[in-house]
């Protein structure tokens, strides 16, 4: 086998952008602490859009050069130093997450903005700082080139995400946050133990170096299993989802959107990095089927339980449990039976598109649910009557998000589903196709329930508790439209995700 990564591991031109993508959020957090109060909000509102521009530059760069961007920090080469690497996968994810962050920031301005003349409060201050911290952690997860940096990023992500759950300080959200924290820490411990085992065996944690040396020996495999289960716990893959419904349903709308759309994708991304980049040949058939089985169980359980929820935010949270399941179907579907390697095209592309389209759609849906909650003072599904007339744009955004989750064209959900189904046909694993299609049907059932309640006329004339600002509705709608039109990338740059993947480089160097 030719060596997968013959390209010299050196800082590429424009590699400095990668550093910027991490430094920018970190600087924002620190500056907010220094300046304090309402400056946090202003800093975030300036930095998040610049983060989006930065991510776009990186994406365009990767796409045009056809290679990954690399930055060797301090010019200390791994294994001694730390490398940052952006391939097509991470660049695409970074851009989408930046879009979600920007929309969330606009949305949150209404709830966490400090108006001139009003007193500063702790919750808004904390919110903006945590938002920037999550953004920085996500960028580090996407760019980090060694497993320990990724561990640090993962911890940062968890510690920034947990307080978001309990921003309002109610007892039940505190309990949910504690649940999340403890379970996530269990996950961290498993991941750290795995990392330590790998370091003990190979004396390096750099992804590229590790992937060259990795051997299928017990210590490696045990390490991989521990790390993976730790990441599953943080991703809330069924049956390790105990913390997700209360945390995501209890948090403020803007926070729920970030938690559901962004945070769970971070640990999922690490699972992909681990198995596709570090040890593509180690998973084996049984392991891949186990991943798939958990994903399938998540889809079925999550959807059926979502169907029976009485509260809108809980329904959306369970829908997240189900949609996470789709992401793990890529492992059995990407496994090439002949070589035993995980293939970095086809199913992986489908899975990433699913992650992206879920991120945008789910953020839009949580925002819409938040607006409904604000307008009605409750989110009981049975009593939503008349809301479609009061907040048409919000319900429209919710419905478009649903179209993407169901997987109707031209949404990203459809494209993902098509690619995944193609992979089931190509690998002859029809049972996953059944699950994929059934999941879509369940999703349409609960979308129908919610939407039919929302468009039904209300018994008494509807009195809205607060007027909902138009820009909040617009933010939700913009995200929903992004998700809806994501399928159109099939007309253009869908290959971007495969840029810089080890196996595609391999093809090039042959």
């Amino acid at each position: 086998m030719p060596d997968a990564n013959l390209l010299p591991d050196a800082t590429t031109t424009d590699g400095v952008f990668l550093v910027l993508a991490i430094v920018l959020p970190a600087a924002g957090v620190l500056l907010s602490f220094v300046l304090g109060g309402r400056y946090a909000e202003r800093i975030a509102l300036v930095l998040l859009p610049s983060g989006f521009i930065l991510a776009t530059i990186i994406l365009v760069d990767v796409w045009q050069s056809g290679h990954r961007l690399v930055y060797i920090v301090g010019d200390w080469k791994p294994p001694l130093g730390i490398a940052l690497r952006a391939d097509g996968l991470s660049a695409a994810m970074m851009v989408v997450m930046a879009i979600v962050f920007c929309a969330v920031a606009i949305f949150a301005y209404a709830d966490f903005g400090t108006r001139a003349g009003s007193a500063e409060a702790r919750a808004p201050f904390a919110f903006w700082i945590l938002l920037m911290a999550i953004w920085g952690a996500m960028n580090l997860i996407f760019l980090g080139g060694d497993l320990f940096t990724l561990y640090v990023a993962l911890e940062l992500l968890t510690f920034a995400a947990v307080p978001l759950v309990c921003l309002d300080g109610r007892a039940e959200t505190l309990q949910a946050a504690l649940r999340y924290l403890i379970f996530a820490l269990l996950g961290s411990i498993l991941y750290l133990v795995g990392t330590a085992l790998l370091y003990g065996s190979y004396a390096t944690l750099d992804i590229v170096l590790l992937s060259r040396q990795i051997r299928a020996e017990p210590a490696t495999l045990v390490a991989a299993a521990l790390m993976t289960i730790g990441l599953f716990a943080k991703t809330a893959l069924f049956p390790l989802h105990l913390w997700l419904p209360p945390a995501h349903a209890g948090a403020p709308a803007a926070a729920s959107a970030v938690l559901s759309a962004v945070v769970v994708k971070g640990s999922f991304f690490l699972v992909v990095r681990l198995w596709f980049d570090v040890m593509p040949g180690m998973l084996g058939g049984a392991g891949a089927q186990l991943f798939g089985a958990l994903g399938a169980a998540a889809i079925i359980f999550g959807s059926v339980v979502a169907l029976q929820q009485q509260r809108l935010k809980l329904l959306i949270a369970y829908s997240t449990v189900a949609q996470i399941g789709y992401l793990f179907l890529i492992f059995p579907l990407a496994l090439d039976a002949a070589s035993g390697q995980l293939q970095g095209s086809g199913a992986l592309t489908g899975g990433i598109i699913q992650a992206i389209s879920h991120a945008t759609a789910k953020a839009a849906m949580f925002m819409a649910a938040g607006l409904i909650y604000a307008a009605l003072g409750h989110d009981r599904i049975a009593e939503l009557g008349g809301i479609a007339r009061a907040l048409p744009m919000t319900i429209f955004a919710f419905a478009l998000g649903g179209v993407s989750l169901i997987g109707l064209p031209p949404s990203g959900g459809f494209l993902a589903k098509w690619i995944l189904l193609e992979a089931t046909v190509a690998t002859g694993q029809w049972w996953w196709a059944l699950v994929i299609l059934a999941g879509g049907l369940f999703t349409s059932c609960y979308m129908f329930i919610v939407l039919s309640r929302a468009v039904a006329p209300s018994g008494a004339p509807l009195k809205l508790k607060t007027a909902v600002p138009k820009y909040q509705e617009a933010a939700a709608l913009a995200l929903a439209l992004t998700s809806l039109l994501l399928g159109l990338v099939a007309l253009g740059p869908i290959d971007i995700i495969e840029v810089g993947r080890p196996d595609s480089i391999m093809v090039g160097s042959r």
Partner: protein, 543 residues
């Protein structure tokens, strides 16, 4: 050629553009009066664009293709006529009714989907427009927001999405069979007969399209939806929209290759549905329900034509089925519109209104010189002298009986006020559709280069068409004598069984929810964490 492409594109771009314009409330308020104009580009495209012209959107590697083939053009043309008339009817219908906006948006969605499906030449575009069609049609069904409308809408969309799941799987399988990157339906149909997965794909296609076409036992959505939908919506749903599935069958099934087993199965299912619709239909007491069951029967018959084509590998079946379907588009549309007109007409003015309805209704049973007789004549060539032909004759007798039954119920729904007259805005679209349904089949017959005019007018052919109608009439007399002893069958007949299924599903759902709440307890979650670690470790180690 540029002009042709633009014309072809405008057929669905114009309705879609109107749909987008609905985002502005001022335009939305005016939109009801513009509904009749939305389908005109489609009609123009059929008349002016040469058959087999096409165009594509997208990159070289992946694109959506739209093209006009002969069956598609035929169905698109008559559907456009019906959409125009029903649109005019709807603009009158919507006056003094609430929720204009929702109706208009759903209407334009359905129209865009309907026109688009008739033109879509690749699988992705076809699936997309079919989905758009389904969503819009569901919105139209629940327009009245009564409990029965909600139920009908839920059943409709549930079944339609299930059908689309089958179709999606079939399309993905087909895409993997086509050599190269093409997603064209034409290539898919060509690759299908030799594919190793042929039987699976055929089963998925037939299940998917059959559900959408209301093939027994998936017909129960039809009576529910057509009785719940507003009159103009019922007209386009039963006339134009449901033909998308027929066109799908014509395009995807390999009609040029003889597949006797599949052909027999499809023809048998279709003929069974043709008779079943009649039998259940005569027990119904509302004119809309009778029409809905007549649709079950007629759609069954069209599917039987396709099945007979597959049985013998006779490629002519495509045009014959499209021709029969085209006739049904107009007649069923006109009859549904007549239900609304008659309901607003008093006994004094009833006959001038009832007579045209009577002519086209009995025409569906094959009354000589009507389009119905012509359609049956074209179909007869394919059915030959087999058992199928006998069943077809039986179905013609039954359809006559059913239509007389419909007329009887229709007359009884006339307005209580003897002086009442239906608004001209309702009457004219209806009369126009009725007239078109008599004229257009002959025009089509002449333009489509097969057979010659004298044939369907020979005495033998006329008699062959006439006697089932006479016999049907005689049976109707007998039926009305024994009418009181007729059993009452609830609308949607076998849907009663579905209710049992729903209860079972709820029980299962509750069980899953209980399992979930157990799994979310701390002890259970930590144990799962442990078990999963061991299981994954074992899985990767045992590899």
């Amino acid at each position: 050629m540029i002009g042709q492409t633009t014309l072809l594109a405008s057929a669905f771009v114009v309705p879609f553009g109107m749909l987008l314009l609905c985002l502005w409330p001022q335009i939305l308020n005016r939109m009801p009066s513009l509904l009749a104009f939305a389908p005109i580009p489609a009609l123009a495209a059929v008349l002016l664009v040469a058959t087999d012209s096409s165009f594509a959107i997208g990159s070289a590697r992946f694109h959506l293709t739209f093209a006009m083939d002969r069956p598609g053009a035929m169905l698109l043309g008559v559907s456009a006529l019906l959409w125009i008339a029903a649109g005019a009817y709807a603009s009158q219908y919507l006056q003094n009714r609430p929720n204009h906006g929702r109706f208009v948006v759903c209407w334009l969605m359905t129209l865009t989907g309907c026109v688009g499906v008739f033109l879509a030449a690749d699988m992705v575009g076809f699936y997309f427009l079919l989905a758009l069609l389904t969503l819009g049609a569901c919105g139209l069904v629940i327009y009245h927001e009564t409990p029965s409308a909600w139920r009908a809408g839920a059943v409709y969309i549930g079944l339609a999405l299930l059908a689309e799941a089958f179709l999606l799987m079939a399309f993905v399988l087909l895409a993997s069979e086509i050599p190269g990157n093409s997603l064209l339906i034409r290539d898919a149909a060509a690759a299908l007969p030799t594919s190793p997965q042929r039987d699976l794909i055929l089963a998925l296609l037939i299940a998917g399209f059959g559900m959408k076409a209301g093939l027994v036992p998936f017909h129960f959505w039809m009576p529910l939806a057509y009785s719940a939908a507003p009159t103009p919506a019922a007209a386009v749903l039963s006339g134009a929209v449901v033909k998308a599935s027929i066109l799908g069958m014509i395009r995807f099934l390999p009609l040029g290759t003889a597949l006797p087993d599949w052909g027999t199965a499809i023809a048998a299912a279709g003929l069974f549905a043709a008779l079943y619709g009649v039998v259940i239909g005569i027990t119904q007491r509302s004119p809309r329900l009778v029409l809905a069951y007549s649709s079950v029967s007629q759609m069954g018959f069209i599917i039987a034509i396709i099945g007979m084509g597959m049985l013998t590998g006779d490629g002519r079946a495509a045009l014959a089925a499209a021709f029969y379907a085209a006739h049904h588009v107009l007649v069923k549309g006109a009859l549904f519109l007549s239900v609304g007109v008659i309901a607003a007409t008093g006994s004094r003015r009833l006959w001038p209104m009832l007579l045209p309805a009577a002519i086209i209704a009995v025409g569906l049973g094959g009354l000589p010189l009507t389009g119905g007789a012509l359609a049956k004549f074209v179909a007869d060539e394919l059915l030959g002298d087999s058992t199928a032909s006998t069943i077809a004759t039986l179905s013609a007798i039954g359809t006559t009986l059913l239509m007389l039954q419909f007329l009887r119920h229709l007359a009884s729904t006339a307005s209580q006020d003897p002086q009442a007259t239906a608004n001209a805005g309702l009457v004219w679209p209806w009369l126009a559709t009725a007239a078109v349904s008599l004229v257009v089949p002959w025009t089509l017959y002449l333009t489509v280069p097969r057979g010659t005019l004298p044939d369907p007018l020979s005495a033998a052919v006329l008699w062959k068409a006439l006697w089932p109608v006479l016999l049907g009439g005689a049976l109707a007399m007998a039926l009305w004598r024994w009418w009181r002893s007729m059993p009452q069958i609830p609308k949607g007949d076998i849907i009663v069984a579905l209710d049992g299924g729903v209860r079972a599903a709820v029980t299962w759902g509750k069980a899953l929810q209980r399992t979930d709440s157990v799994l979310r307890q701390w002890p259970a979650a930590t144990v799962s964490l442990l078990i999963l670690t061991v299981a994954l470790g074992a899985a990767v180690l045992a590899r």
